[in-house]
């Protein structure tokens, strides 16, 4: 690790942002779970609880003008860019002031004002788009980078390979973070993928690969920070494999019964939020009471956001016809 990243790993200046962001996602999705249980979420929804450190650590490196594309498990990634929880709740409820005017839903959170260029419900389809965004940034010499999250399952779809190859040959400023939660929908990685280190995919495209503990928010922040620096300096893309775990099933219709006994418990013991709280305590940056105050404050923020979203109006019927074309 370079000196500058060691310094940032001390995190005195950023810990509150990282902690609050992870708490915001956790509490947001607790409410989404409850909304789904009450029948207020149409279709399905895919929770990222347990994976908060990966998206928060990576998105903490975004600057204005950078772009971030995510998967349908994208609540965390989009909230981590700074998108409004009220607008996010409103989107899930299909309301007019939702992030996408109620036309996208849980799987399509998009907020261009924060660089969140889209959450995609087709596995891997956002990767060529993220690579294209990086091409745009390179061509315009804007200095921006393009960040994409993608699941372990997406490493077996064609778009992943086409995207990485193009990123490699054009040396584009794109950083792709594989959120390896060890399951592609209901199937364990080993049942679908003949290699265990997904980062090895990088080699065949001439791309630098990195592995990181995806439940360690500072480690993710560091490895992504270095990758962004390389990208901004014209040194091309990086593929990062972040080792993490989703606490919930694939979607709300999946109770996750395919998990071997004890697996979930072992990952709950590595809860990224609790690990970060422990680290703050160990390093005497913030004690239990201070962290608890953050929990209370973010909890209240999420409760208020939900209340505001529930009071928001439904879209007018004529919105159906808007923003198709022309």
């Amino acid at each position: 690790m370079t000196a500058v990243y060691e310094a940032q790993a001390r995190c005195e200046d950023i810990w509150e942002t990282l902690l609050d962001s992870m708490l915001r996602i956790r509490y947001f999705e607790n409410e989404v779970k409850a909304l789904f249980g009450s029948g207020l979420v149409r279709g399905s929804t895919h929770l990222c609880q347990g994976q908060e450190a990966t998206v928060v650590g990576a998105c903490s490196r975004l600057r204005p003008g950078d772009m971030m594309a995510s998967t349908y498990r994208g609540h965390g990634a989009v909230l981590a860019t700074g998108a409004s929880p009220t607008a996010a709740f409103a989107e899930i409820l299909g309301r007019d002031p939702g992030l996408c005017g109620g036309k996208g839903g849980s799987m399509h959170f998009t907020d261009l004002t924060h660089g969140a260029i889209g959450s995609n419900a087709i596995v891997g389809a956002h990767l060529p788009i993220a690579v294209g965004a990086a091409f745009g940034a390179q061509h315009l010499k804007s200095g921006a980078v393009s960040l994409a999250f993608t699941g372990d399952g997406s490493t077996n779809i064609g778009a992943f390979h086409e995207a990485l190859n193009l990123a490699g040959i054009w040396k584009l400023p794109v950083v792709i973070v594989i959120e390896n939660n060890h399951y592609g929908e209901y199937s364990p990685l080993a049942a679908t993928t003949p290699i265990s280190a997904l980062v090895d995919r990088a080699k065949s495209y001439g791309i630098r690969g990195e592995v990181v503990d995806g439940n360690d928010v500072l480690a993710v922040r560091n490895v992504v920070g270095e990758a962004f620096d390389r990208a901004r300096d014209g040194n091309g893309p990086t593929l990062i494999e972040a080792d993490t775990y989703r606490f919930e099933g694939h979607s709300r219709s999946d109770p996750g019964k395919y998990r071997p006994p004890g697996e979930l418990e072992s990952w709950l013991a590595r809860d990224p939020i609790e690990r970060f709280a422990d680290l703050l305590k160990e390093r005497e940056i913030a004690g239990t009471e201070i962290v608890e105050a953050h929990r209370q404050q973010v909890g209240a923020e999420i409760a208020a956001a939900l209340q505001a979203a529930k009071a928001a109006p439904e879209p007018q019927p004529e919105r159906l016809y808007e923003d198709v074309i022309g």
Binding site: G101, G102, G104, L112, L127, A134, G158, A159, E162, N165
Partner: protein, 326 residues
């Protein structure tokens, strides 16, 4: 500037004029640069604009379309080439689920000024996987403009309209028309989307046809004129949006309709046009509207078989004579 150009040269001319007009415009695809295109329709562009703006890509259609989407999000106005329209099959997701829906799903946060060009159609002996008229694959996808230019003049003007359009346009360039000559006026005003061309006036039968079929309809018109039968030939030029009004105006004179479509009938623009006109203008018909299409088979390789597959000028003339029996 006014020049005599072929359909093929009109393509390079339009792309060149758009690259000249707007620095945000870029052009990429397989072998479009150094090789000047598989059909030599982009010769000279790399030399004129350089490798930053005219780029050869890997053989990766998903990455090509995705890169165009991402680059558009980042602020460019990409022109992307899919070498043969048949290859829409390997990037269908990027066109249908991504390019066409991005604006709608994000409630207008994103608009995609993307032009997708592809070589279309049968008659040149390329066999079943390189000869399809692919426009009907995209006809029921909201969010795309579809253009099917039949002449060098229309190809030039439609391509310029497409690149200047803030929404996605798919331009089908018919590979059996590349040698057609025309007079290109680079100062002519931009052609509006969805405007049909009344190619030939007549009062007995309205014949609607695109691309290669339009030329065969004109050939049939010559043959019929010798018999005192005057058909009106309408080239819609755009399939989405479709200029129904032009056809209705013609039917008011002729009361007889023949729609000629290269490609099988099921799920096509020709059948959809007849359905709309019957539903809304039934009173205009003195004879049952007639479809003349290719049979419901793949495109065969043999010259004899391919000729039989394509509706011919005599087929058009026969259908018109049949219609006049009512």
């Amino acid at each position: 500037m006014i020049r005599e150009l072929t359909y093929r040269e009109a393509i390079a001319s339009a792309i060149g004029d758009e690259l000249e007009a707007d620095p945000r415009t870029v052009f990429f695809g397989e072998d479009v640069g150094a090789a000047g295109g598989a059909f030599k329709s982009t010769v000279g562009l790399l030399e004129r604009f350089g490798g930053e703006r005219v780029r050869d890509t890997p053989i990766s259609e998903q990455a090509i379309v995705g890169a165009a989407i991402g680059a558009a999000i980042a602020g460019l106005r990409p022109i992307a080439e899919i070498m043969f329209a048949d290859f829409v099959g390997v990037c269908f997701d990027q066109i249908v689920n991504q390019l066409a829906k991005y604006r709608y799903m994000t409630a207008g946060q994103v608009r995609l000024p993307v032009t997708l060009r592809m070589a279309n159609g049968a008659g040149a002996g390329f066999g079943a996987q390189h000869s399809q008229a692919a426009e009907n694959w995209l006809i029921n996808v909201p969010g795309l403009y579809l253009a099917t230019p039949a002449t060098a003049e229309d190809t030039y003007r439609i391509l310029r309209t497409a690149v200047q359009c803030d929404d996605p346009v798919v331009v089908f360039e018919h590979k059996n028309l590349f040698g057609l000559k025309g007079t290109i006026d680079s100062t002519a005003p931009v052609l509006p989307v969805g405007k049909a061309d009344v190619v030939r006036s007549g009062e007995h039968v309205t014949v609607v046809a695109t691309q290669q079929m339009r030329h065969r309809a004109v050939e049939a018109a010559e043959e019929l004129a010798a018999e005192g039968i005057h058909i009106e030939v309408i080239d819609p030029r755009w399939l989405t949006p479709f200029d129904d009004a032009a056809v209705v105006a013609s039917l008011q004179k002729t009361s007889r309709l023949l729609v000629v479509q290269e490609g099988p009938a099921p799920g096509g623009w020709a059948g959809a046009l007849v359905a709309r006109l019957c539903a809304h203008h039934f009173e205009l018909f003195d004879a049952p509207p007639r479809l003349l299409t290719s049979p419901f088979t793949p495109v065969p390789y043999s010259g004899v078989l391919e000729d039989a597959w394509l509706p011919s000028a005599p087929d058009v003339a026969d259908c018109c004579r049949e219609l006049l029996k009512y």
